[in-house]
Amino acid sequence: MYYFPAKKLKKNSEPIVFIHGTGMDHSVWTLPVRYFLRKNRNVLSIDLPGHGKSPGKLISSISGFSDQVFKLLDNNSITKCSIVGHSMGSLIALEMASTQPHRVKSMSLIGTAFPMQVNDQLLEFAKSDVQKAIDVLTFMGYSNQARIGRNKNPGMWMTESTRRLMQQSKKGVIYNDLLACSNFKGGLEKAKKVTAKVQLILGSNDFLTPTRKAIDLIDNFENPDVKEIVDSGHTLMTEDPNKVLDYLIELL
């Protein structure tokens, strides 16, 4: 499995594992990853199997993805880590922290909810007309304000950048990922098993994982730190990268 930066990990330093969401790759984490690298932290910003630069067959379940990430950690002799996951990546983080709690020190779940049920029509689009699914995900992935623009990252048009990243994903990836999110079960019970320090970063204008759908999850974690970014949609790392980074620094 590919991870950025593709360098040998430092010994005796607990890494931070960044896990992207549906149809994405490690490039969604470029800004925070650059911060933690500057601070000499071990970072693995991964491309899940079949995504970005990672070869391999697609994995159809969140638990399967979780197993693969643990395998990568094992191969690098990493016994404990912190995890940052966005959207589908947040479910993978939850799965990892509940199945092997002793290996996860802290985790930040960005743009998360449980259940992460995907609309049947969207799943059908993803299966039969992926461009339509990408259009829906892009539209719903941003707040009303962000669709007009005014990117904090100067000169970049947010919605088209996201659309392009998803368009680069391999055939079947988006359907696979959406289905994996939809089929993820037992999230609340899993939340109860988590011993790691938990942070949730939510956007008040998120149409894909609205904050109200994270309430049950929040209630089942022990002392979670909930951060709400006012006016941000689901694509928080693009819509408010500096606040996301500030919150990650607080946790990690």
Partner: protein, 431 residues
């Protein structure tokens, strides 16, 4: 499930990239006439420099007013990001030098604006970048001239001044089959008439001096990245796929994915060549863009009327405009330029150089100057001005003769424009 409702172009012209100012609620885009921006603390400063935080450092690289313009043009073109430059020419240099270096080669149209031709023919070879000029209508000529080191194909959406219509779907396919991106100059078409990215182009640049600003008051350029080209498809694009020592070994494709090109252009080209746009200019271009659709409609309407008038005038030998059936790209224009073929065109006077001189000097409303795309009507004699450094062969290839006159039709009352042209034609061709 919400149905995606992307904002329409007429709305994007007014809103894309800008929200009311958060400090004072200004509705218009503020002009951030500031060379640099205060950091709240040293750690944030380090973070912005290291590109781990979003923000502005210095207006040569980014500026909040320019950023609005960059987002707006990206939104209108369907691109992922853009860079505002000091001129259209600066945008072209930035477009080329971001991926080409000493030993690189590009293929360009034979029919280009004189300034672009000079850059490719005389200046870039001094830096080891060579160009082969071909007729981009002849697809076999493009294929024949592709070399191992060919890294770019470049043409104008509407050639200057012969209005060759660039067959973007065909030319881009040849490029993509050989891992070569297509750069287009879309100055004459603007996003109102054509969206080159949707036809297959990979990079677009504009002289914002022309129709985008629309009032002949600024010099500016815009480079837009479509974000679709796969820079990793070959080993050619080392500036994007290999570590860049000038930015702490940043590998742009690895860190920015589809946005690799535009990030390299900003982090190297904007930083080092320094051909940035002034924020005041960006403001004026934004003001122009707000009315682009309305102006372009009127430009096209007036142009069609004038083309018809000249085409039936006894003192005019021929008119070159793709909407006329005798234009070699008439069918293609119907297909990819359905809203119109721009407001710049040429015609041949029935006479010689002297006739042309008399005609231009007799005009009253048409201003004789070296620009196009102003709200006011303009005229020029290309062979003695914009294209005068081109050889006779190159002039012939670009469809320019001694009696060629180029008009840029403005948005005045068309009756007044026709009267002005009629009087000048009568005077200049009087025996």
């Amino acid at each position: 499930m919400k149905k995606p409702k992307d904002l329409k172009p007429s709305t994007l012209l007014l809103h894309a990239g800008q929200r009311p100012d958060s400090d004072f609620g200004a509705r218009a885009t503020p002009i951030y006439q500031s060379s640099s921006f205060v950091f709240p603390d040293t750690e944030t400063a380090a973070g912005i420099f290291n590109v781990e935080r979003a923000g502005h450092v210095y207006s040569r690289i980014t500026n909040p007013t320019n950023a609005v313009l960059e987002e707006r043009i990206s939104a209108l073109e369907g691109g992922i990001g853009a860079i505002a430059t000091a001129s259209g020419q600066a945008a072209l240099v930035l477009a080329i030098t971001t991926i080409l270096e000493k030993g690189s080669h590009l293929i360009a149209s034979k029919s280009l604006y004189g300034g672009s031709h000079n850059l490719l023919e005389y200046t870039l070879p001094r830096f080891g970048i060579d160009t082969t000029f071909v007729d981009l209508r002849k697809t076999n000529d493009i294929k024949k001239n592709i070399k191992k080191n060919t890294k770019l194909i470049f043409g104008e959406t509407l050639g200057n001044p012969g209005l060759d219509v660039l067959n973007i779907p065909k030319v881009s396919k040849i490029g993509h089959d050989n891992n070569i991106p297509l750069l287009v100059d879309s100055t004459f078409t603007t996003p109102y008439l054509m969206q080159p990215f949707s036809l297959g182009a990979d990079l677009i640049f504009h002289s914002a001096t022309k129709f985008l600003s629309g009032h002949g008051v600024v010099i500016g350029g815009l480079l837009v990245d479509g974000g679709k080209f796969d820079w990793s498809s070959s080993t050619k694009f080392k500036t994007l796929t290999e570590p860049y020592e000038g930015f702490h070994d940043m590998n742009f494709v690895d860190e920015y994915g589809p946005a690799a090109y535009i990030n390299r252009a900003r982090k190297e080209g904007a930083r080092d060549f320094g051909a940035c746009m002034s924020p005041h200019t960006a403001f004026l271009v934004l003001q122009g863009i707000e009315t682009l659709n309305i102006r372009m409609e009127r430009h096209i309407q007036n142009t069609r009327t004038i083309v018809d008038f000249l085409n039936s005038h006894q003192s005019v030998k021929s008119v070159c405009y793709p909407e006329l059936e005798n234009h070699p790209d008439h069918e293609l224009a119907k297909d990819i330029l359905s809203k119109g073929c721009g407001a710049v065109f040429t015609f041949q006077l029935d006479g010689n150089k002297e006739t042309g001189k008399k005609f231009i000097e007799q005009l009253n409303l048409f201003s004789h100057l070296a620009n196009v795309g102003d709200a006011k009507s303009l005229v020029i004699h290309p062979a003695s001005t914009t294209h005068h450094r081109m050889s006779n062969d190159a002039l012939k290839n670009a469809g320019i003769t001694e009696s060629t006159i180029r008009l840029s039709v403005g948005i005045e009352d068309c009756d007044d424009l026709i009267e002005d042209l009629d009087e000048a034609l009568t005077y200049s061709t009087r025996k």
